[in-house]
Symmetry: C2
Subunit: 378 residues, 2 copies
Amino acid sequence: MSENNSVGIVAPKTAHFSEPLALKGGGVLPQFDLVYETYGTLNADKSNAVLICHALSGHHHVAGKHHESDKYAGWWDNMIGPNKPLDTNKFFVIGLNNIGGCHGSTGPISINPATSQPWGSAFPIITVEDWVNSQARLMDRLGISQLAAVIGGSLGGMQALQWTIAFPGRVRYALVIASAPNLTAQNMAFNEVARQAIITDPEFHGGDYYAHGVVPRRGLRIARMLGHITYLSDDVMGEKFGRKLKDGIKYSFDVEFEMESYLRYQGDKFAGEFDANTYLRMTRALDYYDPALTFGGDLSKALSQTKAKFLVVSFTSDWRFSPARSREIVKALLDNESTVSYAEVTAAHGHDAFLMPDKHYHAILQTYLGSIEVGDAK
Amino acid sequence: MSENNSVGIVAPKTAHFSEPLALKGGGVLPQFDLVYETYGTLNADKSNAVLICHALSGHHHVAGKHHESDKYAGWWDNMIGPNKPLDTNKFFVIGLNNIGGCHGSTGPISINPATSQPWGSAFPIITVEDWVNSQARLMDRLGISQLAAVIGGSLGGMQALQWTIAFPGRVRYALVIASAPNLTAQNMAFNEVARQAIITDPEFHGGDYYAHGVVPRRGLRIARMLGHITYLSDDVMGEKFGRKLKDGIKYSFDVEFEMESYLRYQGDKFAGEFDANTYLRMTRALDYYDPALTFGGDLSKALSQTKAKFLVVSFTSDWRFSPARSREIVKALLDNESTVSYAEVTAAHGHDAFLMPDKHYHAILQTYLGSIEVGDAK
């Protein structure tokens, strides 16, 4: 990737919110921080702001690098920058870490003001609705009354959808990518296995492992290994690894197949970086999101008050958030005569495709985002 | 199920083999026991014997009950009995527990004669080829020079296939059901996650947990929960559980959705019954089986010396052993102008369909097995 279309060196900022946030689950977060980054320039009438909502293991560092020496750029750097599909010459882009996260925003590893200890198990369950409410607070703080667009993939797509339900007047366009109006039973089942791997790890200590100076690394590692299987398509795993051996068959339980090496590496890496309590809460937020539930399961009714225009994108090989689930969203929007475009992208990479620089996928977003009108720069 | 078509009360028998069994992995099993059951009567010319090969968690108790008070019959009781698809009025059916198993045949929980302690980690890795060799010994013992048929589903299907390769003159018909000529990378990946859950359980003790008076129950439970997801289709999980709640949303990590209750129940039950070392070895046998490997990946060549007639059966919703994999076997057999019938059964239940009493599936097996000629009873 050329340096010329990078947002360059960026620095995260922190916004502190001292007013309590009432949570859908009944609890209250007495105060909270949101860590965020911005790329591009907010225009004079503040009509060019685009919010990026992250998925399970994402965060605020979406594009650019923090230091020249950084090995990797932000997690969606292929999408965001000057002349990229989400063009920072035109848009003011905001990425944030959600509450409950482990990348700087208030979460289970943060200090609970009531006890002066890490929140740990006492940190409440957070829902997609809570995230969107907290994100709206950040938009208030930045003086953005209406977003040009909200964009998210997977769990991020659920947040984009929720923005159009909770704040119909505050979002002009919603890009809901590789997402679903709720999880299938199979999807929830994978989450449950991942959570049980963490919770039954002897070093989980009921979620208060910080006090014991340990982390439930084994469980988090298993959770991530499992996740990786479901993010890739069967075909891509076949092409990428197939039955390739590292050094021949040894009749052991050590790494023998390349796929095993990949999974263990990914699991170990993640277990050394990510917070298990955050992982539990992210998966539970996925499980619970179901905007149709209070409308007797009628998604069309749930979306009837939305005012945004929609782009819904799915990927043919995504078996965890299949195209059929995206089409449910499209159908519900059409039932309401909402403006919706739908793209089903032929892509081999499974759920991970939403993060990949697929030519057709990027062209679709470039065209769609290019058509959004924004006010003058000054 | 009517009592009239049950094989009734059955009792397992044990065959001891004192001659060492050389293993594909290089080791030697100095002696071994095979636990088996038989149903029906071996006819005068011993031409009516059918061997049932079990899958990952199966065993020798295939049909009937051990006691009148048994809650459940053998694992394939719906298939085997008087006037059932595998008719015990006609056939002499043999079910056995494979070596490496934990239901009575020699396995990791057996006493290692060299140490007078349980084998544990020292028990060798067993392959599909080893199983078939040990099964042939049992046939020798029973005086059966040629089987009318070998039948197996999943990992059992691999054994049926291997019989036709290793002993082309000893099997007339092979029924290979919901199986594959080798595992896909995705399939091996699920096995690897399951194994890592067991191996990293602190109570695994490198496989020698027997001496510590513990079992790696947490890991085995996770492995089984994961397994259950992959045995069912997405659709069946949706129909069976969907997003149904047990007692409403509580915003917790406890059981809230019915699917969670099901998975935990299945995991707990299995972890209390099955041996972790056996589980590891069964999954490794699955990983390694690949008869085409020594023929440069050419399955047609691997099957070129087979003499059996084949019935290959797959199920449309089976995403772990998909119909495409069964068709690879069919194609390779057709390349050799072997006699093969293929049935792709429209079934909702995923991989588990091979164990279900689906009407069409059972009709296919009833017709096929009905056409096999056997000698007179006496």
